[in-house]
Symmetry: C2
Subunit: 95 residues, 2 copies
DNA sequence: ACAATTAGTCAGAAAAACTTGACTGGCTGA
DNA sequence: TCAGCCAGTCAAGTTTTTCTGACTAATTGT
């Protein structure tokens, strides 16, 4: 049960078919479930639900109920999630 | 077929059960097939072979035949692979 | 000559990830 | 009251990834 590669855990948090896109979109502002499913081309409810749940469990996203107008739920980057932003930018600038 | 997330491609290059560890070890020096399989606890020939081949195809690793004593093959980071080192360090320092 | 080490490949099985479609239940506007 | 949006869940099926064990074939040490 050793790891020997500290980056592995962080990498795993963003691995999967939809997580990178979800993370990228979360950088730009709060997310809503149905909107995500509609915006992420080729995705589906179930996969997005699982990705959101895992990212929340890993502490990348935070879930809030917004008691307003249509009464909805928002997912946004946590402090931990925000720490990954510079890494993301660095990856983008590598191209 | 859009992407909308430039970091996705880079992330995918290091995704998979063994690639992060292989990359990490490549930072420390050239790798050899059988040694990798022995050192990476829980791995197997086939998976390591596939990971190495893909990482080579993606241009992260370079393969060289070393015509010496036991006549063996070495995998080492390419220029492209080396560009990822700072990202890796940043991920490590995030813990 | 024989055994071990090198670096693999192959087929098939098992496990993990992803998709589909149906369904739930609260809330809101007409 | 009825339709539609919200945020999901569930079971089943498909696809992708990973693992196992057997095998190849050149090179090297004794």
């Amino acid at each position: 049960m050793e790891n020997s590669c500290p980056a592995e855990g962080l990498l795993k948090m963003l691995s999967g078919k939809w997580k990178p896109q979800i993370f990228r979109m979360a950088v730009d502002g709060p997310l809503r479930f149905n909107a995500l499913v509609r915006q992420i081309n080729g995705s589906n409810k179930q996969s997005i639900a699982v990705a959101l749940k895992e990212m929340e469990e890993q502490g990348l996203l935070e879930k809030t109920t917004v008691r307003l107008k249509p009464l909805h739920i928002e997912y946004m980057l946590s402090a931990k999630g925000k720490m990954l932003i510079p890494v993301f930018h660095q990856l983008e600038n590598l191209l």
